[in-house]
């Protein structure tokens, strides 16, 4: 059952946000309530704080406050070797450790000029798409929990996530913090029967998606709370550097897997879903449709995976000293463009190590999307941005 975003029935009444002139209410002439949502809040997806100024229920101003999980990842990375930073990259976007590892490994490979053997590229694509599946499923679960569905969709999502985490655990030894990619390949080869197990999971996933959709698609509360809410116009999305499903929901066709063609994504046939309205409903639909595309990529990759070495013969993990220079490498992580910028001065530690965090930059437009809307919409809009504080604050 393939669904196109445009064919979903939408409610006809337009809920326009408050006109700009009315937003000039000031503390003197109105009764503005200043509220701090967070850092401890059931729905802020971590320790995130928003200072909102409300007139009644309407949001007049919203200023996010960051730093409650700032663990100075970049400073630690500049003090240790390139290899020692890989476990720390797991803990950036802690739901998606495989894609974090890949982005960092890709950047170091660009910096040091390393090649990756074919089998390792296939394994990277497979693990990245599995990560995307469990991330999007969890996101939908959390979004619906914020709307009041009180845990049931989240239970379904986590049921599938546990199956994927079992695969990761048998592959890398850990459920979440996989520490799996290396410069020039991956750390260990696939255990016996892993491909078959993955194929069984991928074969059963469309049935889970159908079940999920049957539960949620025509749900009045979901449609009422998300359609027309938190609209992000196209030009603002581009200018504010939004990436990932949030950008594509606003109608911009920019998927780094297609644009850069990193790894071997050029070999797989998959579509890039685009939204029309840029509201929360479109962002939710982006994730649903992208999960279906990921299932397609996985089927192709699992069918074609060749044998061979899993790490480049010339790769030197310990004592890697790339030539002095810099490199910027990026991938399409489930949240958006995850980039790493490394400056090497020829020694074993990077001189400058920078993470380009998609979650932080996607929050640039949070205020724009929430102005004039109700407080309850703020929760839903924040849920649709898909943030993970480990990445926002690093």
């Amino acid at each position: 059952m393939m669904l196109e975003a445009a064919s979903i029935e939408r409610t006809t009444e337009e809920r326009t946000p408050v006109e700009a002139a009315e937003l000039s209410a000031s503390p003197e002439n109105g009764q503005l309530l200043e509220l701090s949502m967070g850092p401890h809040h059931p729905s802020t997806h971590g320790v995130f704080r928003m200072n909102v100024q409300l007139e009644g229920e309407r949001v007049m101003r919203l200023k996010p406050v960051f730093g409650y999980l700032h663990r100075n990842h970049e400073q630690i990375a500049e003090k240790v070797s390139y290899l020692a930073s890989i476990p720390y990259t797991d803990r950036l976007d802690y739901l998606c450790s495989m894609t974090n590892n890949w982005a960092y490994a890709l950047t170091v490979e660009k910096l040091a000029g390393l090649a990756v053997p074919e089998r390792a590229e296939y394994i990277r694509v497979i693990t990245a798409e599995l990560t995307r599946l469990q991330n999007h499923a969890s996101l939908i679960g959390f979004l619906l929990q914020d709307m009041g569905a009180s845990g049931t969709p989240l239970m379904y999502a986590f049921r599938e996530r546990e199956k994927i985490l079992d695969l990761f655990e048998s592959l890398s030894g850990a459920r979440m913090m996989c520490n799996y990619m290396r410069f020039g390949g991956v750390r260990v080869d696939l255990p016996p029967q892993w491909v078959e197990r993955a194929q069984a999971l991928v074969g059963g996933f469309p049935r889970f998606l159908d079940e999920f959709e049957r539960l949620l698609m025509g749900n009045e509360i979901l449609m009422g709370r998300t359609q027309g809410v938190g609209v992000l116009p196209r030009e603002l999305a581009i200018n504010a550097g939004i990436t990932g499903p949030m950008l594509r929901a606003s109608g911009v066709n920019y998927d780094i897997r297609k644009v850069d063609g990193y790894g071997i994504y050029g070999r797989f046939k998959f579509r890039v879903p685009l939204g029309e309205h840029g509201d929360v409903y479109d962002r939710y639909m982006m994730r649903v449709l992208e999960m279906r595309e990921s299932v397609g990529i996985l089927k192709q990759a699992l069918g074609e995976i060749p044998g061979g070495p899993i790490i480049d013969a010339k790769a030197r993990l310990r004592g890697l000293r790339p030539k002095a220079g810099e490199a910027y490498g990026r991938i399409e992580s489930p949240k958006g463009e995850l980039g790493f910028f490394l400056i090497s001065d020829g020694s074993t530690n990077p001189y400058r190590y920078r993470v380009r965090p998609p979650s932080l930059i996607n929050l640039t437009v949070l205020e724009d999307m929430c102005l004039g809307r109700n407080v309850a919409d703020v929760v839903v809009i924040l849920g649709s941005v898909d943030i993970v504080l480990g990445e926002v604050d690093r």
């Binding site: 960051f66 910096l111 550097g241 220079g325 810099e326 910027y328 990026r330």
Partner: protein, 200 residues
């Protein structure tokens, strides 16, 4: 590799033609990524940024990444072979030349184009020094995506972005006084086992 890697030298020439008076310096990149960058002088940075964003061929509408970098005072020695007169005979002699680069802070911008699907074009803005003259122009009026990232560079490095709509600390709390990502930052002494000695 992006679908269209940009040639830094051509872009340098185009910028110099489009924004008269600006000073663009090409910085070559020694690594295999071959991502060369351009240093723009602070006075013309905003004009150059607008040109890069609005030019119909470049259309660099997406500023992906803003990084602060701390360069300490550095002394680079290189051995150079020159011809010199030694006892009346011209000979090739090696001599060691030391160049001193004063320390400064730098903001590095990675630009891409969502419309044309090419990039990256890398800009660098440099401050005068690491002490009193740490101001560079903010490029947030051109690319909104720089808003939080410039705030972070201000927070962690102390680079002041003139013209930023809301330059406050991003990650650390308001009363914090240090710029912790600088290379010479020293953390406060931590009393580990209570007997007054600083142990890590």
């Amino acid at each position: 590799m992006s679908s269209g890697t940009m040639n830094a030298e051509t872009i340098k020439a185009e910028i110099e033609a489009a924004v008269p008076g600006c000073h663009v310096e090409l910085v070559l990149n020694g690594s295999s990524s071959a991502q060369h960058s351009l240093v723009i002088d602070n006075e013309h940075a905003l004009q150059v940024a607008r040109y890069l964003r609005d030019d119909s061929a470049l259309r660099l509408d997406f500023c992906s990444n803003v990084t602060g970098v701390d360069w300490l005072d550095a002394e680079v020695s290189e051995t150079v072979k020159t011809k010199k007169l030694v006892d009346g005979v011209e000979q090739e002699v090696s001599e060691v030349r030391k160049t001193r680069t004063p320390g400064r802070l730098e903001a590095v911008y990675h630009l891409f184009s969502m419309e044309k699907k090419h990039g990256p074009v890398i800009l660098r803005l440099r401050t005068a020094d690491r002490a009193g003259g740490t101001t560079v122009p903010s490029l947030t009026p051109v690319w909104r995506s720089a808003e939080f990232q410039e705030r972070e560079a201000f927070d962690l490095y102390g680079i002041v972005f003139a013209g930023h709509p809301d330059l406050r600390r991003l990650l650390m709390w308001e009363g914090f006084v240090d710029h912790p990502m600088r290379k010479d930052y020293l953390p406060p002494e931590e009393n580990e086992d209570g007997d007054g000695r600083d142990q890590r």
